[in-house]
C-alpha cells in the first residue's frame, strides 16, 4: 500500500512527552478516523475502542482498509481526519512503544544475528538478549546465516523476533502467515500467543478464519472502510451480527 498518494509520517525524532511515556498505552480510542486518497475514502469514519490485554483480530474482505487501519494505529500514516488516542498519547508518539510485523518481512542484508543486533542497538536494548530471542523463535542455529536466505517461515519468525526485541506494549501483525505452510503458521501463532500471555497487546490482521478462531479474544470486522462489527470472539463466530460478516464467514463474496 506504500505507493498510495497518502502522507507517511516523516522519519524525524519525535518530542518526548514524559508524562505520556509513563502511562500505559491502552485503552485505545479511535474516533471518526478517515483516510482519503485521490478523492476516494479508504477509511471512512472508523470508531473503535480497545481495552488492555488480549488479542484483537481485524478481519474483512480485500480492500476493506485493514492494513491501512493498522498502519494508522501504529502512526505510520497520517489520517485525513479523526483521531487516534492511545490513552491520551497520539499515534505518532506511541510508535516507539509498539512494533509491527509486516506481511512481507523486510530483512536487512545481514546475518540473522546482525538483524537482531541492529534493532537491539537502535532501540537501546540489552544486546545480550539476542540469543534468547533467536532461541524463542527457533533460529539460534541459523544465527550466522544471511537473513535473506531464510525460508518464508523462518524470515517471518526473524521479523517476529525483531519486533519482540523492542519489548512492545502493542504488537501489530499484518497477515504475517499469509503465504506460510501450516507448520510455520502454528509456530508463529505459538510465539504470538506467548507474547500475549506475557501482557503484550496483540492486534492481528488475518483473512484466515481458522486462525482468527484460534487467536482472537475479540474481532473487529471492517467493511468498506468502516467498522461493521466489533464483538467478542465467542459471539462473533457463532452469531455475527452484521450481514457482511455473516457473508464473509459463510465464504460468500463480500462486495
Amino acid at each position: 500500500m506504500s505507493d498510495l498518494p497518502i502522507t507517511a509520517v516523516p522519519p524525524v525524532a519525535r518530542p518526548r512527552d514524559e508524562a505520556a511515556m509513563s502511562r500505559p498505552l491502552l485503552p485505545l480510542r479511535v474516533s471518526g478516523l478517515r483516510l482519503a486518497a485521490d478523492g476516494a475514502a479508504l477509511l471512512d469514519g472508523v470508531e473503535l475502542s480497545l481495552a488492555p490485554g488480549g488479542c484483537t483480530v481485524i478481519m474483512g474482505p480485500n480492500g476493506a482498509g485493514k492494513s491501512l487501519l493498522l498502519k494508522m494505529l501504529h502512526g505510520l500514516l497520517v489520517p485525513s481526519g479523526g483521531e487516534v488516542s492511545w490513552n491520551g498519547t497520539s499515534a505518532a508518539q506511541a510508535t516507539a512503544r509498539q512494533a509491527l510485523v509486516f506481511q512481507k518481512p523486510v530483512l536487512l542484508r545481514r546475518s540473522v544475528a546482525a538483524n537482531l543486533d541492529f534493532v537491539l542497538k537502535a532501540r537501546g536494548r540489552d544486546r545480550s538478549r539476542r540469543d534468547a530471542l533467536l532461541r524463542e523463535v527457533g533460529l539460534l542455529h541459523k544465527a550466522r546465516q544471511p537473513a535473506r536466505l531464510l525460508s518464508g517461515g523462518e524470515a517471518q519468525r526473524l521479523a517476529l523476533a525483531r519486533a519482540l526485541a523492542t519489548d512492545p506494549e502493542v504488537l501489530f501483525l499484518d497477515e504475517p502467515t499469509a503465504s506460510l505452510d501450516p507448520a510455520s503458521v502454528l509456530v508463529i501463532e505459538r510465539i504470538v500467543g506467548a507474547a500475549r500471555d506475557r501482557g503484550t497487546r496483540i492486534i492481528f490482521v488475518t483473512h484466515d478464519v481458522g486462525q482468527a478462531r484460534r487467536m482472537a479474544d475479540e474481532v473487529v470486522f471492517l467493511h468498506r472502510g468502516r467498522v461493521a462489527e466489533h464483538s467478542h470472539a465467542d459471539v462473533f463466530f457463532p452469531e455475527p451480527r452484521s450481514q457482511p460478516a455473516r457473508d464473509y464467514l459463510a465464504g460468500r463474496i463480500v462486495l
Partner: protein, 235 residues
C-alpha cells in the same frame, strides 16, 4: 613511424620488461585516481544518501543539477581548479598547483557528482524497501542513512567503480593542474597524449594496454565481490 603491429609488439615487450619509468607512471596514476575516488566517495555517498531519504521543495531541481554535473567537462574543471590553485587564486597559499595533490583535487571534483547521483539512485531504491520498517523502528535520519550505506555497500561498489573509471581515464583536468611533469605529475593518460604527439607509439600503446588491463582487473575484482555478496543474499 612504426606499423601498428610493430608498435604493439614493442609495447608488450615494454610492459613485460618492468621498465621503472613506465611503472612509476602507472603507480602515480593509481595513487591519484584511487585517492580521488576515496575522497569522492567520502563526500558523494553521504550526499546521495541524504537526498535519497529526504523530501523537500526543490528536490527535483537538485536531482536535475546533480545529474547534469555528472557530465562536467574535465578541461573546464581543470581550468577552474587551476584558477583557484594558482598563486593569485584563493587557494594559492596551499602550493598545490603542478603537484599530484592538485590532480587529486581536480579528479575529486569531477567524480563527486557521479558518486552522489548514482548512489542516490541505488539508495533510494533500497530505501523504498526499508522505509516503513525504519519508520516503525523510529530510526533517526542519521540511523537511516548509515543503515542504507551499510546495506547497500556491495551495490555502491559499482558506483565507486564508475567514479574510478572516470578518474583514471581522464586527461583534460590533470594535464592542466598537474602539468604532465616527468617523474612528478605524469600519469598514464597524460603520458599517452604526450608520447602519441611525439610519435613514440610503443610507449603510448604500452600505457594504453596497462590502462585497459587495470580497468578490466578492477572491474573483474568488483564483479567477483558482488557475485560473492549475491550468493550470500547481501545484494
Amino acid at each position: 613511424m612504426q606499423s601498428i603491429g610493430e608498435a604493439f609488439h614493442l609495447a608488450l615487450s615494454l610492459v613485460l620488461s618492468g621498465e621503472a619509468d613506465l611503472y612509476e607512471i602507472v603507480g602515480l596514476s593509481l595513487r591519484v585516481s584511487l585517492s580521488a575516488t576515496v575522497l569522492a566517495c567520502a563526500i558523494g555517498l553521504p550526499i546521495g544518501a541524504l537526498i535519497a531519504v529526504s523530501r523537500f521543495r526543490g528536490r527535483g531541481l537538485v536531482l536535475i543539477v546533480m545529474n547534469a554535473l555528472m557530465g562536467l567537462p574535465p578541461v573546464v574543471v581543470g581550468l577552474l581548479v587551476y584558477l583557484h590553485l594558482s598563486r593569485s587564486g584563493p587557494l594559492g597559499f596551499l602550493g598545490l598547483l603542478y603537484t599530484p595533490g592538485a590532480m587529486v583535487f581536480a579528479q575529486t571534483i569531477l567524480i563527486v557528482p557521479i558518486v552522489a547521483a548514482l548512489s542516490r539512485q541505488v539508495l533510494e531504491d533500497l530505501h523504498a524497501e526499508y522505509a516503513e520498517q525504519f519508520r516503525s523502528l523510529c530510526l533517526s535520519r542519521w540511523q537511516s542513512i548509515t543503515t542504507l550505506l551499510w546495506d547497500g555497500r556491495y551495490a555502491l561498489l559499482t558506483v565507486g567503480l564508475a567514479g574510478f573509471g572516470r578518474a583514471v581515464a581522464e586527461v583534460g583536468a590533470v594535464i592542466i593542474v598537474g602539468g604532465n611533469i616527468d617523474h612528478l605529475t605524469r600519469v598514464m593518460t597524460t603520458a599517452i597524449a604526450l608520447e602519441t604527439s611525439k610519435g613514440d607509439l610503443p610507449l603510448a600503446l604500452a600505457l594504453g594496454i596497462i590502462l585497459l588491463v587495470l580497468a578490466l582487473g578492477v572491474n573483474a575484482g568488483v564483479q567477483a565481490l558482488r557475485m560473492t555478496a549475491a550468493r550470500q543474499a547481501h545484494v
